[in-house]
């Protein structure tokens, strides 16, 4: 109606798109759900049941065992010369190692990186969606999205599905007009800005190593070594982390990939007296 347009009254439908700008999403519990909805994202939901408990109840029933890829250690810290991001590369599904060279850093654009920990499918999907939204922002507004805004978009996506069993712990790292930026976003909708974060089941080991060696005025080589050590020691003690250390350095002119080192070789270098 014309009166709605004049008074600026917005229907809930349109407000919904502003709160969850990642496109309209619907939860559908028809039994004939087929995803031909390539324009609007639809999620099928088991009818009448709480989705997060549903899968647990189906497991171990007549040999059915639905395992999703999981488990990680990731870390990131800010220092004088930018942001260091280091991740491991192990993806486990239950007790089976599904992959030893999984890619847990998504390169959103040349100034933004996102890390992934928790459920691999959740991280891949929502961070790809975030990359799409960042690209649309750049095209619509003619300037790059800030790290704060990008992390806010991701945390709002998570808030929309809070309580439904998503599992994602991510760090959004970038360099924008405010300088280096580092935000931690997780599946509860938590969004924190900080100087150093580590996520995943091996995070406590990584925190210990990085906390003891961190100085704001480190050189670039010292920072690389600290990131490498943090992941290596975490993979050594945590069963669900391992593989290789993938390290990125976020600088003023964009990110560079520093290294891809196998942790079993690194641990031998670091702990010569141990074995």
């Amino acid at each position: 109606m014309a009166i709605f347009e004049v008074s600026g009254y917005k229907k809930y439908f349109e407000l919904h798109e502003q709160i969850f700008p990642a496109g309209l999403t619907h939860l559908v519990d028809r039994t004939n759900h087929y995803n031909f909805g390539t324009k609007t994202q639809e999620f099928a939901v088991p009818p009448g049941v709480d989705p997060s408990g549903f899968l647990k109840s189906c497991n171990h029933d007549g040999g059915v065992c639905i395992e999703m890829n999981h488990g990680t250690t990731t870390l990131a810290f800010k220092f004088k010369h930018g942001v260091i991001v280091a991740v491991d590369s192990r993806a486990s599904a239950g007790n089976y190692l599904a992959s030893k060279d999984a890619n847990k850093v998504i390169e959103i654009n040349s100034y933004l990186l996102g890390t992934m920990s928790g459920s691999a499918a959740d991280c891949q999907h929502w961070e790809r969606l975030l990359a799409k939204e960042c690209r649309l922002y750049r095209l619509r507004n003619n300037h790059r999205i800030s790290v704060a805004a990008a992390s806010k978009l991701l945390s709002n996506m998570m808030l929309g599905y809070r309580g439904m069993g998503l599992s994602m712990g991510s760090m959004i790292c970038g360099w924008d007009k405010q300088g280096p930026g580092l935000y931690y976003v997780d599946d509860n909708g938590t969004r924190l800005s900080g100087r150093m974060f580590s996520t995943g089941c091996g995070n406590s080991y990584a925190y210990g190593v990085v906390d003891s060696g961190y100085r704001e005025d480190m050189t670039v080589e010292e920072a690389y070594e600290l990131g490498r050590r943090g992941i290596t020691h975490a993979t050594h003690r945590d069963a669900y982390s391992g593989g290789v250390v993938n390290m990125y350095h976020m600088r003023e002119d964009g990110w560079i990939k520093v290294c891809k080192d196998d942790v079993s070789e690194l641990i031998h270098q670091y702990r010569k007296g141990m074995f």
């Binding site: 088991p46 639905i66 395992e67």
Partner: protein, 240 residues
């Protein structure tokens, strides 16, 4: 979806429940079943191989000895899916329909990488009520090189050189790591894999799987994908 929920479940009957009736017990209809089967894909320099056994089982029974799990999607891509057969059938139907839609709107066939990305979104749209299917796509990429993409049931995926999925995957994957990835071997020359050697390796590997996994056996269907097309071969395996 019917849940026959009778009474509240009082405490844990433990071992005693096998011997006498301890009280009312809750039963639920499970929408999933495990139908077994193993799938394997290997990518070479200019070829890709997708192989699967053809046994369809449930519990202690075999439903069929001739139910292959490789599905031809395009002239350069084959999908192998194992897990719950009902979800495999529905998923392949949906993928076929989406391939046709793409062909009609874009006037070209989907590439292997595009099919992999699309499958990831199809699987994730069922994040809260997953397809119980373990997928592996094998095919040729735009440059003509072999490509293998492996998935988990909810859509996380990555590109690999070789991957085994399904019931005997934990037995086959270490063997492939050793023979194709040259892991756990010292002082060996890393010879690139030829097509004939790869086909022989796949046959040997499935024969081993049929020896030790009850859900794998009966016959082996191998699809070899090259730029000339897709060549299918069936060889017998143990039927016990």
């Amino acid at each position: 979806m019917l849940f026959t929920c009778m009474f509240q479940h009082f405490g844990d009957p433990g071992k005693m429940k096998d011997y006498h009736y301890t009280g009312p017990v809750e039963h639920k209809f499970s929408p999933y079943a495990f139908n077994g089967g193993t799938v394997l894909a290997v990518a070479g320099e200019d070829f890709a191989i997708v192989a699967s056994d053809t046994r369809l089982s449930e519990g202690y029974s075999i439903h069929s000895r001739d139910s292959p799990k490789c599905y031809k999607l395009t002239d350069t891509t084959v999908l192998g899916c194992s897990g719950f057969h009902g979800d495999c059938l529905t998923l392949t139907k949906i993928i076929d329909a989406r391939l046709k839609m793409y062909k009609h709107s874009n006037n070209k066939t989907m590439t292997s990488g595009a099919i992999a990305a699309m499958l990831s979104t199809i699987l994730y749209s069922r994040r809260f009520f997953p397809y119980y299917v373990y997928n592996i796509i094998g095919g040729l990429d735009e440059e003509g090189k072999g490509a293998v993409y492996s998935f988990d049931p909810v859509g996380s995926y990555q590109r690999d050189t070789y991957k085994a999925g399904g019931s005997a995957s934990a037995m086959l994957q270490p063997l492939l790591d050793n023979q194709i990835g040259f892991k756990n071997m010292e002082g060996v020359e890393h010879v690139p894999l030829t097509k004939d050697k790869a086909v022989q390796l796949v046959k040997d590997v499935f024969i081993s799987a049929a020896e030790r996994d009850v859900y794998t056996g009966d016959a082996l269907r191998i699809c070899v994908i090259t730029k000339e097309g897709i060549n299918e071969e069936t060889i017998p395996l143990r039927k016990d």
